[in-house]
Amino acid sequence: MSSSEAHAAAADHPHNPHLAHHFDTIEKQDHAIRLGMWLFLGTEVLLFAGLFLGYSVYRHFYHHTWHQASRTLDLGLGALNTVVLITSSFTVAMAYYFIKKGKTARCALMLVFTILFALGFLVVKSIEYSHKFQEGALPGQFYHFHEVTGPGANLFYTVYFLTTGLHAFHVIVGMSILIWVLARVLKGHFSPTYYVPVELGGLYWHLVDLVWIFLFPLLYLI
């Protein structure tokens, strides 16, 4: 019975090349794709939740030392990177808006802005990292930073490098995905009826922003 329904539905959209044969309709396919993406984002939340838990436990034990250690991070650069990521989240949302309206050129421009902001974020982050390397504010046994010496001091920088490092890796992955999406936008692969890759690339990028929204105050301000 469902196969005859499928044939009927397929007859409604005979020309849609994006509909895989195992889905009845493009709506069902889009629903499955979005659900899969949200499941993946859920696993990403849990991945970072483990690191946030480690942060919370050590901050609970060593909060005086950690308070001092967080003051050694560059608040100006951290705040700048927050503004950069929030703005990139906005531009990728605009890219999604424009592709839905069929404005390919504007969508491409917004994606270019987003990729440039991602690069800018990584440049600022590498400046911060190189300062920390020079000061010796490094994880574990490599720690030889003299400004903060209490127990748990090196743990702050271990957590700092682990969380921001994993986040920076996500920035690189997100940027690569957006470059791929941009290439397909420029080739004219998307239209107001088919734009799911732009949407999913954007969702991944927003997650990168979400993680930073929590990392920034926890590392730089507390």
Binding site: K100, K101, I213, P217
Partner: protein, 128 residues
């Protein structure tokens, strides 16, 4: 119930109905304003108040991103459920671990943890 049926029967299918870029601009400005607010309050000395304020502001910002930039406010119920449940499980993990740590005998805690406060008066760090 009838409302939902009418919605799904409408030609624009659920998640794809449009709203202008104005909403994105507004959310962007609010997020920037909250970033300024969190930097400002973060540099004040509010004692124990700093952490809840920072977490509250971050949660508000994250909620705005999820609902409007990621369109969860217009998404299918199943997508919302998946994401909310993942956050719920993250909270369960936090509660479980802290439930353990806060009720332990101090002797069983990692050595060299001077700030473990059995009572609020007792957290004097030795290096201060």
């Amino acid at each position: 119930m009838e409302n939902k049926v009418a919605k799904s029967a409408a030609p624009s299918h659920g998640e794809e109905h449009g709203h202008g870029p104005g909403r994105y601009f507004v959310i962007w400005f609010i997020l920037l304003a909250f970033t300024g607010l969190t930097v400002w309050t973060g540099r004040m000395d509010l004692g124990a108040g700093n952490l809840p304020i920072a977490i509250t502001i971050a949660t508000v910002k994250a909620t705005l991103v999820v609902l409007f930039f990621m369109h969860l406010s217009e998404a299918h119920g199943s997508n919302r459920l998946v994401f909310v449940v993942s956050i719920l499980f993250a909270l369960v993990m936090m509660l479980g671990v802290f439930g353990d740590l806060l009720t332990r005998n101090p002797m069983s805690l990692p050595s060299g943890a001077p700030n473990f406060d059995v009572s609020p008066e007792s957290h004097m760090a030795p290096h201060e």
